[in-house]
């Protein structure tokens, strides 16, 4: 197992190297001069720095070197753990990210926890409530969740719960109350998706022979669902939650901007706008790293949830768990 983990980590490094290299190339190909942006004189705005000042700064940042040399310099620095200084603020990028990260982690944990709890509640009610009408009502509500983009939820939640009712602050990252609305905005969409997958899984599981066996033993439907079906149905949910962790940053960019949270998502948006190369690269390494680690963790934990799944480090496969394996084994 150790060898497997090591191999995966080496692969992760290769993935990160690829991501960093591609983003380096993309930044070179997209228009934009970081030095001019940095000096505030974007394009036509007069009163920018003089050509000598621009040249001096360009040299200071090493941006006057040939591309291959900039690229190698960058790789060399990364290998020695030096991610450089952000162009826009002049602060070390590690400090910038360290400052923003807790804000996003708080939001991400809150959003994912909310999604999972909400998905569980809706999916369970969707199969357990008495009466097909009620059940299908709960199932259709989850479609609404999928249909509402997070920026829209954010704006509606702001209007209602903050501006009108004054229950929650509209902005900031000060304390638990401040995370409620942004977490809600992010969670609605993912909760909807999760609930749908889970409901589908539960319904499938309930038609399986083992469910009939359980019922034949005289177990109540609640116990069949909670004791047997849920565990089977939660496998794809588990994979999806793993993907969500990796995807938190994307969702956070929008939500953090709307709610004025100084998190990693907003930092990313600012960095791209300013062509702040060191910051962008560090953020790509961070998000890529998180994604790789989460996928690895999911793969390693999978067999613990469903013993029928062969642990990837035993089968020799390196990819994620193949969901079709479940039905074959069953």
């Amino acid at each position: 197992m150790l060898r497997y983990v090591l191999r995966r980590l080496v692969q992760a490094l290769i993935v990160l190297w690829g991501a960093v290299t591609v983003s380096f190339a993309v930044l070179q190909l997209t228009p934009g001069d970081p030095v001019r942006i940095m000096l505030g004189g974007a394009g036509d705005a007069a009163a920018a720095a003089s050509p000598e000042q621009v040249a001096a700064l360009r040299a200071e940042l090493g941006l006057d070197l040939p591309l291959w040399q900039q690229y190698l310099d960058f790789l060399g620095r990364v290998l020695t753990g030096d991610l450089g200084t952000a162009y826009s603020t002049g602060q070390p990028v590690t400090a910038e990210i360290a400052q923003a990260l807790p804000v996003t982690v708080e939001l991400g944990v809150a959003a994912i926890a909310t999604s999972v709890v909400a998905a569980l509640v809706f999916a369970l009610l969707g199969v357990l409530l008495p009466g097909a009408g009620l059940r299908s009502l709960f199932q259709s509500v989850t479609v609404l969740g999928v249909a509402m983009p997070s920026f829209w939820v954010a704006i509606v939640a702001l209007q209602l719960f903050s501006f009108r009712l004054g229950w929650f602050p509209a902005f900031g990252s000060d304390g638990v109350v401040a995370v409620v609305l942004p977490a809600l905005a992010m969670a609605v969409l993912t909760a909807g998706t999760l609930a749908q997958v889970l409901t589908r899984g539960l319904k499938d599981a309930l038609t399986e022979p083992y469910a009939d066996t359980a019922r034949a033993k005289g177990l109540s439907e609640v116990r069949v669902v909670l004791g047997h079906a849920l565990r089977n149905a939660s496998l794809p949910v588990f994979t999806m939650v793993g993907m969500m962790v990796g995807g938190v940053l994307g969702g956070a960019a929008i939500v953090e901007t709307i709610f004025g949270r100084q998190g990693v998502g907003q930092l990313f948006v600012e960095a791209v706008r300013a062509h702040d190369f060191p910051l962008i690269q560090a953020l790509i390494i961070l998000t890529g790293g998180v994604f790789v680690l989460v996928t690895l963790a999911v793969d390693l934990l999978y067999p613990l949830i469903d013993p029928r799944v062969v642990a990837p480090y035993r089968s020799g496969r390196t990819g994620g768990v193949d969901l079709t394996a479940r039905t074959e084994v069953a």
């Binding site: 001069d33 394009g43 709307i258 709610f259």
Partner: protein, 542 residues
């Protein structure tokens, strides 16, 4: 001076009732009778800024929100009256300028200390100017104001003489600008990165006590402050104990936060959020910026606008009133000169800016644009179309709407106006001298006619639209401006220049820039400096 739009003095409503403020309320600023009439001590002022602060060092690159902080924590040698444009004593209680505007001697107050306890002296002032010049590209605005700096001589403990190798008449007004804020010697010795991160000590009414975004940005009132600007109603300790700053980039969130009282002061508001905010009972602070009137400027490296008739026709074909009515619903004024009405150098040239479609068409025809195609666009004998392109960064909304209206208006005269939106990043790929566009738009806030010299001369490659296309008459007058210290003479010269600029079509002013801030009903006393930055020393929560 600031690259981003700021705003002129206006004051929050209740202050009018008190009748004690220096500044006047401009435009349709709301004046609700809220708050208390006499200042209340204590409390925390919640402030929301529309933009994150990237750099707290006032000497470094200018950013509106950062300068708003530095306005509270640092003072300048002089201040400038928003009404008259007059330069007023502040840290310097008096000054002399030599005959040819190359030596400026300042006599400092003797009771000023920085918040670390060190006293303000001549050596500290000299060290500030030296540092700005040393920072070079990092402090390009300040370094530009100190162009041709020869050094500062410490005459005695309270007297410093700043010398230039060339005449530099604009320098006196420049000492009122945030880029030349006077910081403590201890701050000047730090690495620029450290200062940028927030390690700034000044002599202002507030102290930046926390600048870690996770802990919150907090300014604390300085107990022993006693040397407020003559523009401050309160020259002692601030009324509030603390200011807490949040960053709210989303315009509707910021406006909602003001309307619901979650912040006491929101700065800067998007024009689109103003009507709702006003209807909701919050106070809207409107500032007419002491700037250039927002123009469309021909880029003279493009052949099509090298013909003065075409440039003039653009101006004649522009119905400015219709533009401000649509874009700002009457909250901004049409341009009536090259500079905005609140700029001390303003001259009323509204007759030359009157809408005259027939006049525009006549000029175009006399320049050979006399064929009108089936699409309504003019062509000349060579078959060239009279088509102009602009590249602009959308975002704000106001600019885009203005350009769309211009497009419709100019089409009436047979001019095609092509609007090409670009990103900030894309626009950084070219300068005003190699832009693929034919015209551009820009803004700069500086309450001095010197803004004309830097921008409409041919003197500076990085700043001057006429660089490489010198107009000897314009350059001559602008050079004289730099050598003239007498305020009235400066105004006379700048008036002549403005006439020339319009006559020869070097700029097509459209409207006077206006900016909005919002104050919650419970806030009193806030007014703004000449650039529209709020002066929180006078604010109280009641």
């Amino acid at each position: 001076m600031s690259l981003r739009p700021t705003r002129r003095t206006a004051l929050v409503g209740a202050a009018l009732a008190a009748g004690t403020m220096l500044a006047a309320c401009s435009g349709p600023a709301a004046s609700e009778e809220t708050g208390s009439d006499s200042p209340v001590q204590g409390g925390t002022l919640e402030v929301g800024f529309s933009e994150d602060i990237e750099n707290y060092d006032p000497h470094q690159r200018p950013q509106l929100t950062a300068r708003t902080i530095s306005r509270q924590i640092a003072d300048t040698l002089t201040d400038q009256d928003p009404e008259t444009g007059e330069i007023l004593p502040w840290l310097a209680e008096s000054w002399e300028v030599n005959e040819d505007s190359t030596a400026f001697t300042f006599h400092l107050r003797d009771d000023v200390t920085f918040s670390d306890g060190t006293a303000l002296d001549a050596a500290a002032v000299a060290a500030n100017f030296d540092r700005i010049v040393d920072l070079g590209p990092l402090a390009y605005i300040g370094a530009g104001l100190l162009r041709n700096y020869d050094g500062s001589e410490v005459v005695d403990e309270r007297t410093v003489t700043v010398r230039f190798t060339e005449p530099n008449a604009q320098f006196l007004q420049a000492t009122a600008v945030q880029s030349l804020s006077i910081l403590a010697p201890a701050t000047l010795e730090l690495d620029p990165e450290q200062v940028a991160a927030g390690d700034v000590i000044g002599s202002g009414p507030f102290v930046l006590t926390s600048y870690d975004p996770n802990e919150g940005i907090t300014l604390t009132a300085r107990e022993d402050y006693a040397w407020g600007s003559p523009l401050y109603e309160n020259d002692g300790r601030a009324h509030v104990d603390e200011i807490h700053v949040s960053f709210i980039p989303e315009a509707t969130t910021l406006a909602g936060a003001v309307a619901s009282g979650q912040v006491d002061y929101g700065y800067v508001l998007a024009a689109s959020t103003v009507p709702t905010l006003e209807a909701g009972g919050a106070q809207v602070v409107t500032t007419q910026m002491p700037a250039i009137a927002i123009p469309v400027v021909p880029l003279l490296h493009q052949e099509i606008v090298q013909d003065a008739n075409v440039r003039r026709a653009l101006s004649l074909a522009t119905d400015r009133q219709a533009i401000v009515d649509t874009v700002f619903e009457g909250r901004a004024r049409p341009a009536t000169g090259v500079l905005s009405t609140t700029n001390p150098g303003y001259v009323d040239l509204s007759e030359e800016l009157a809408y005259n479609l027939d006049g525009a068409i006549a000029l175009l025809e006399s320049s050979g644009w006399d064929e009108v195609g089936t699409d309504g666009i003019r062509t000349n004998a060579d078959g060239d179309r009279l088509s102009l392109e602009i590249r602009y960064v959308p975002g704000g909304g106001d600019t885009e709407l203005m350009l769309q209206l211009l497009q419709q208006q100019w089409a009436q005269a047979g001019i095609e106006f092509v609007l090409t939106p670009v990103t900030d990043a894309e626009s950084s790929e070219y300068t005003i001298h190699d832009s693929p566009a034919d015209v551009t738009t820009w803004s700069q806030t500086r309450a001095d006619p010197d803004v004309l010299r830097t921008v409409y001369s041919s003197f500076y490659e990085n700043q001057s639209f006429l660089f490489g296309h010198a107009d000897a008459d314009v350059d001559g007058l602008l050079d004289e401006l730099q050598r003239t210290i007498d305020p009235q003479e400066r105004l006379d010269i700048s008036e002549q220049v403005q006439h020339l600029l319009l006559e020869r079509g070097y700029t097509v002013p459209i409207y006077d820039r206006v900016q909005f801030a919002g104050a919650a009903a419970g806030l009193s006393g806030v007014h703004t400096d000449l650039e529209g930055k709020p002066l929180f020393v006078d604010a109280w929560l009641g």
